[in-house]
Amino acid sequence: MTEAGSELAIAVCIKFTVDVNRLRPDPATAAPDLGHAHYRINDFDENALEEAVRLKERHGGRIVGVSLVEREPPRELLLRALAAGLDALYLVPHAAAASGDAFVTATILAAALEEIGAVYEMVSWDLVLCGDASCDTYDGQVGPRVAEALGIVPITYATRLDVRDDTIVAERTIEDYVHVVEATLPALVTVGSETNKPRLPHLRQIMDAGRKPIVRLTTAGLGRGALDRARATLELLGVTAPPSARRRMVVGGNGPDDVARKLVRQLQSDGELTQ
């Protein structure tokens, strides 16, 4: 634990996820065509990283990224995460990354965070930042579960945060109210798109990002107990896109009013519009 008022040791959990906007279903199986998928940094994790950078700018410190990955993500994404302000990136390859089981993900991530803090960075984390959810599975569970596994305070859906001495102050916007919470560090905070607007990195940061360390941990190095605990609680039966066959229907009629009336009737009978 860092001394009050001194520099912050921040870990940001980052998910390299499929870009769902560019994901197409396989026409034969309706399952997502992962073979042709494009990858991206989970958007809320970009908010988490940006928030970490802002805290570092104000208080000083060091930011490391930790990512549980099924396999090595495209290197340009790793460079982008480093360019955005990470001092180092730790990749933890594990098949569970694809399981979609937030309990397993959080258990391994927490074990990795402990290991990285104790063995590699030789700090105990002041702050762990996560995105509110990930844009592919959208469970929103990993952050709080990591906090639980680490035994630290979770603050979810924070829209503003700052650190004063050894206290974190976070605002959470809840409809018409702003909920202000304080906690003594260490804490885990989840943030989303309302928290900040991530800035674009400087061109030189991108070109030089490859010089920053990327460390690949094996889960074998993590505590045995952690992996034993990380037994799946969910079984993923399948992911399929809803059928959306094109109807190619031409609605005819006498003049625009008549066509509009017929179109509305058709949409209602198809169940696309309610009365």
Partner: protein
């Protein structure tokens, strides 16, 4: 070892940065700035995007690291430039013209000049630094630009600079320079100006470049040129009346015309990829349109064979232009401006003329709706595109003359590019085709020889 067109992870990350800058920061400003009737206002509307580009290091990307630049090579620059041009080539030229403006210093400057001028360019706390590049001159007798390397002192560049008591005194007029008048019409931070420093010598010996800072007395900026396209760019009309600059601002004495030709070598691939990007924007738009628009038929028009074939022809020309530009950029990175002249000229001419046809073909595929300027972008793309064959050294004069001068040389090896050899270009390749074959002049010469 294969010929490698693979983008490195760094280049892909750079491409993404440029794409995000273009889409998030440039795109929202473009339509209104293009539609603005006052050319200076349209230019000023892009200032916030320029400042952001400066902040992100895009403006100074090509300058060496030791002065504070990004240290990118030409190939890297092209990857970023294509993405910005695909959204708007105008802002891309506002961002990029510093590279041309400071090219004389980069290529011909002394160590002291590099430190001073490049250092200033790369470290502006206001993020508004600009450097224009002024060669072109207005119509008149003589006038125009295409014969800048004419052997007669009475032809070609007519803006003069005389050395008086340690200062150059400039007189004359420049027409067209990009961004030279600055954000407030009081001058860009700096302008490099091609001038005749020896009134007795022709274009191969009498020209040099002067660095003219903002605030130099005797420089006047007339209202900007009102253009059909690239309306986001500021194109200036500058008058010099006994404007004085210190002698140490002189660059490339007696080599002004080589600076011009080598500057074009530098811009060849850069304009090539910009033309590719404008054509790409038209192609992508029309491809999408062809997959959704039915023209009153039952199926999207892409299922008509003529549309499918035409889109294929459009796509293949866009790809060909991109790879030619990359090749020229790679040549420039490998051999420098002196060795890449020929390929650069080929790239500028081929891509600009091909891509005009590509954008026009996109309009043909789309049909009448392409002409609707409120609903579709083809109008702006075509207006912008039409500038490419005639700016940055008109294809009909300067660009084809460069290539001609090189090919007419005894030493020219037509296999040089296949062998990936350096192809030297020097003063001996300049000046070709500047002396006309006007019948009376030919008869006078024949009589004189008798």
């Amino acid at each position: 070892m294969p010929i490698d067109f693979t983008l490195t992870p760094e280049q892909k990350a750079l491409q993404k940065l440029a794409r995000e800058f273009a889409q998030d920061i440039v795109q929202p400003l473009v339509r209104a700035a293009d539609a603005e009737p006052d050319p200076q206002k349209g230019f000023q509307m892009m200032k916030p995007a320029y400042e952001q580009a400066y902040e992100l290091g895009l403006v100074t990307a090509g300058f060496p690291r030791e002065f504070g630049g990004g240290g990118l090579g030409m190939t890297d620059l092209l990857i970023a430039h294509e993405e910005i041009c695909a959204v708007d080539c105008g802002i891309a030229f506002i961002i990029g013209v510093q590279g041309l403006g400071l090219f004389p210093v980069m290529a011909y400057g002394t160590a002291e000049q590099k430190k001073r001028f490049l250092g200033e360019a790369c470290n502006d706390p206001t993020h508004t630094y600009q450097c224009g590049y002024a060669i072109s001159e207005p119509a008149g007798m003589p006038g125009g630009t295409a014969n800048f390397d004419h052997p007669s002192p009475q032809a070609g560049i007519q803006t003069t600079a005389d050395l008086v008591n340690g200062e150059y005194v400039i007189n004359g007029r420049k027409f067209w320079p990009t961004s030279s008048a600055g954000w407030d019409m009081k001058g860009a931070t700096m302008n490099s100006v091609v001038v005749r420093t020896d009134r007795t010598k022709g274009g191969l010996e009498g020209l040099s470049v002067l660095m003219v800072p903002r605030g130099t007395p005797g420089v006047r900026y007339e209202p900007n040129i009102d253009k059909m396209g690239m309306r986001i760019n500021q194109n200036c009309d500058i008058v010099y009346e006994n404007a004085r600059v210190p002698a140490e601002n002189l660059v490339g004495p007696g080599n002004g015309e080589l600076v011009v030709n080598n500057g074009f070598t530098f811009t060849g691939p850069w304009i090539g990829i910009a033309a590719t990007a404008v054509a790409r924007a038209a192609y992508e738009y029309v491809l999408k349109w062809s997959k959704t628009y039915t023209a009153g038929g039952t199926d999207p028009i892409i299922y008509h064979q003529n549309v499918g074939y035409m889109l294929g022809d459009i796509a293949m020309r866009v790809e060909a232009c991109r790879y030619l530009s990359w090749k020229a950029a790679h040549y420039l990175d490998t051999y420098g401006f002196d060795g890449a002249q020929g390929l650069s000229a080929m790239t500028k001419v081929f891509t600009s003329e091909t891509c005009v046809q590509v954008v026009y073909d996109c309009m043909r595929v789309m049909g009448c709706n392409a002409y609707d300027r409120a609903a579709h972008p083809l109008d702006k793309l075509m207006r912008d595109m039409l500038g490419f064959p005639i700016f940055d050294g008109g294809n009909m004069g300067m660009q084809r003359r460069r290539l001609w001068g090189l090919m007419a040389d005894e030493r020219f090896d037509p296999r040089a590019y296949a062998n990936c050899d350096r192809v030297h270009f020097g003063k001996e390749n300049e000046g070709i085709g500047t002396v006309t074959t006007r019948p009376e002049a030919v008869r006078e010469l024949a009589t004189a020889g008798r």
